[in-house]
């Protein structure tokens, strides 16, 4: 191996190491802090374990099984519905020809640029009028559509040859049959990608939950973490313990669908 190649390799590894540190260090802080008392958390240098470390922060998470269950419920419904709305609308935007299709899609895309703080008040008025304030259904309804997911799937569907659909139509297949039997099976990778994005988003979703929920028994996991924020103090220990627990499902999902996820992001055509 030449010295030039050695330098290149070393540089690559150093860059990978530095990049990894940005990801690993916060996780390390969360894990270590979840076992420490408030005084030890911000001690420098940061110790992995102190003489005071223990499970006491986890013992304060007695309400969290309920919060986790609520998060699972909301996330499941939102994710399933989003997969449905994103895939059908992406198909309509990419493979069906109708008047004003592209204009409507541009408008739909533009809605991505509007921050939630701008739309939250009119949206809240709608939810209140429907009598859904302080229900999980409010969160599910406002989270039923995903512009990003639709865009991602549309970009994938565009790569599918129109001849596939044309031949199915000539054989007398209904549009639903084409979509369900031909298009969706080819879209597993991008569906997995949207699933991961949606799951991660709703699992961590805080602002809508804050606005629409008020009963303690309806709190989702991110909202439950505010239990440890008092008027004057933030109790970081139990918050870190809760954060550590909340990471686990996302990690499991990501690692189990990692292959699809990377393919889905990278997909730009059909393999012949």
């Amino acid at each position: 191996m030449t010295s030039k190649k050695i330098i290149q390799k070393c540089t690559t590894w150093i860059l990978i190491l530095i990049t990894s540190l940005f990801v690993v260090v916060p996780v390390y802080i969360i894990i270590t802090a979840s076992f420490k008392n408030e005084r030890d958390i911000f001690e420098a240098p940061m110790a992995l374990w102190t003489s005071n470390s223990g499970l006491f922060n986890f013992k304060q998470l007695d309400k969290f099984p309920l919060y986790i269950w609520n998060s699972i419920k909301v996330t499941f419904f939102c994710t399933v519905i989003q997969l449905g709305t994103a895939s059908t609308s992406a198909y309509a935007f990419s493979k069906l020809k109708w008047k004003g299709r592209d204009t409507l899609f541009v408008l739909y895309l533009m809605s991505m640029m509007i921050p939630i703080q701008v739309i939250i008040i009119p949206q809240f008025m709608v939810i209140k009028t429907l009598g859904l304030y302080n229900t999980h259904l409010a969160l599910i309804l406002v989270g039923s559509f995903t512009v990003f997911g639709t865009f991602l799937m549309k970009q994938f569907f565009i790569t599918l040859p129109d001849s596939l659909m044309e031949s199915a139509r000539m054989d007398g297949a209904h549009e639903w049959t084409i979509f369900l039997k031909i298009v969706l099976p080819l879209a597993k990778t991008v569906l997995a990608t949207v699933l991961i994005f949606s799951f991660r988003w709703f699992w961590n979703e805080f602002f809508s939950a804050l606005i629409y929920l008020t009963s303690p028994e309806l709190k989702t996991l991110p909202l439950g973490m505010t239990d440890f924020v008092s008027e004057y103090l933030v109790y970081f220990g139990p918050q870190m313990a809760a954060a550590m627990i909340s990471i686990i499902p996302v990690m499991i999902l990501f690692f189990s669908l990692q292959r699809y996820f990377i393919q889905g992001i990278a997909s730009s055509g059909i393999k012949g």
């Binding site: 008025m125 804050l210 009963s215 303690p216 924020v229 008092s230 933030v234």
Partner: protein, 433 residues
């Protein structure tokens, strides 16, 4: 295809029934106590829940239906609820200056008529009138007084043979220059044990200015500055540079709360608001305070002051009746109870400063404030000047925080500080409706 459609239509009702969680409660029946939806910032297990529970236990005709919002996100949610037309009867105001915008938007019910109707003794509220009245309209009733004090651990002063802040107050020598000097004397100057602490909030940087009635922008939109605006930040810089005060940036980065500064012995002196005795009592009770700092070592006295006419600073914590409430009388009864003797006893029991002080309240406060002289200064009747208290306040506070940081990092000089700030204040004044 048929199967999928059937499954889908079967799935919808299942989803609705399962996902709903809980529906809004039905309106209370006409008979029985009036239920008042009252919003506040709380985790449901703190001072507010104690106050609400005490009210519900003491009253039969009106009952509070508490609506708790996480403290850190109270303003965001409350703003949305108010703008979205949420049915509520009353709410607490966490950031007092928000009252001006809420009043302009018509969310707050003026209480003048209700005060007359319910024969509420408003004379007990005179100390707080500057904070709760706008253009002759009473917009709120306080449930907590609002004053800032000097809190300190007397032990280090005794050990070093130094005069205590209380002794200096008694001699009329507790000035801001003396505060700097005493902080330097009691400090170890080693970067670990400091002399005093001012917290990170913008308002904590401007005590001397606020005492001298510097408004930054007055209620009419006129820029109002003098040398005390600069002196306020100079005090911090002198002490930070000499390792006699924890650096503002360090407190922020390490998220060190001011209570931790006192609990851990990082600094023996702290200038903060009237709620702090309750926090200290809690700290002693939970064993969070270093062993060398005993409850009997805890002292309270006035803020430093350069003027012979002493003013404290701060604003009371108060609640409003919502203008769209269908239970305005009941909501007022709640506020009146909080602002009266009964509410005061509950607040005092929690180690907080109630809006009204009497012998009963003093006796209860004495359980947490063991030193008689500290209790005297804690409950004395002095004038209080609200800080940054008009519709420009929240913007000005952010500006003050930014200028303080720039000054501490030597990015703005003494000569430029006031002219630059004046320019920015004018911009705020011109761009605020």
């Amino acid at each position: 295809m048929k199967k999928i459609l059937i499954a889908f239509f079967l799935f919808i009702p299942v989803m609705f029934s399962f996902a709903a969680g809980s529906q809004e409660k039905a309106a209370p029946a006409a008979e029985g106590p009036v239920s008042v939806d009252f919003y506040t910032w709380s985790d449901g297990n703190d001072q507010y829940s104690d106050l609400f529970n005490a009210f519900n236990a003491a009253n039969t005709d009106v009952q509070i239906n508490p609506q708790y919002i996480p403290p850190a996100d109270y303003e965001s949610k409350l703003t949305t609820l108010l703008a979205g037309g949420m049915n509520m009867d009353g709410y607490m105001q966490k950031r007092q200056v928000d009252m001006f915008a809420q009043n302009a938007n018509g969310y707050i019910e003026p209480l003048n008529d209700l005060i007359k109707k319910h024969n509420f003794d408003y004379s007990t509220m005179k100390a707080w009138s500057a904070a709760i009245e706008v253009d002759g309209k009473v917009l709120a009733l306080p449930h907590r007084g609002g004053k800032y004090y000097t809190y300190y651990n007397v032990r280090p002063f005794i050990e070093k043979g130094l005069p205590t802040p209380t002794e200096l107050v008694n001699k009329g020598e507790w000035t801001w220059d003396k505060f700097v000097e005493l902080s330097q004397q009691v400090s170890e100057s080693d970067g670990k044990t400091f002399g005093s602490c001012l917290y990170t909030w913008g308002s904590c940087q401007i005590y001397p200015a606020a005492q001298n009635n510097v408004q930054y922008i007055d209620a009419k939109g006129k820029v109002d500055l003098n040398d005390y605006a600069l002196k306020s930040v100079q005090i911090r810089k002198i002490l930070e540079d000499g390792l006699d005060m924890p650096k503002l940036v360090d407190l922020k980065v390490t998220k060190t709360h001011y209570s931790q500064v006192m609990y851990s012995g990082m600094a023996p002196m702290l200038l903060i608001g009237e709620w702090f005795p309750g926090m200290m009592a809690d700290g002693f009770k939970k064993g969070l305070v270093v062993d060398s700092f005993k409850p009997e070592d805890f002292r309270i006295t006035r803020l430093p002051s350069d003027s012979p006419d002493y003013y404290s600073v701060g604003a009371p914590t108060f609640g409003h009746v919502h203008s769209k409430s269908k239970n305005k009388d009941a909501a007022f009864e709640v506020l009146a109870w909080f602002a009266g003797n009964e509410g005061a006893k509950v607040e005092a029991g929690l180690g907080l400063l109630p809006p009204v002080i009497n012998d009963d309240v003093k006796a209860i406060l004495a359980e947490n404030i063991l030193d008689k002289e500290s209790l005297k200064y804690f409950t004395e009747d002095v004038s209080v000047r609200p800080m940054l208290y008009n519709k420009y306040g929240s913007k000005v506070e952010q500006l003050v925080a930014r200028f303080t940081e720039l000054y501490l990092m030597n990015q703005i000089s003494d000569a430029d500080f006031l002219p630059e700030m004046r320019k920015e204040l004018q911009t705020i004044s011109d761009s605020t409706d």
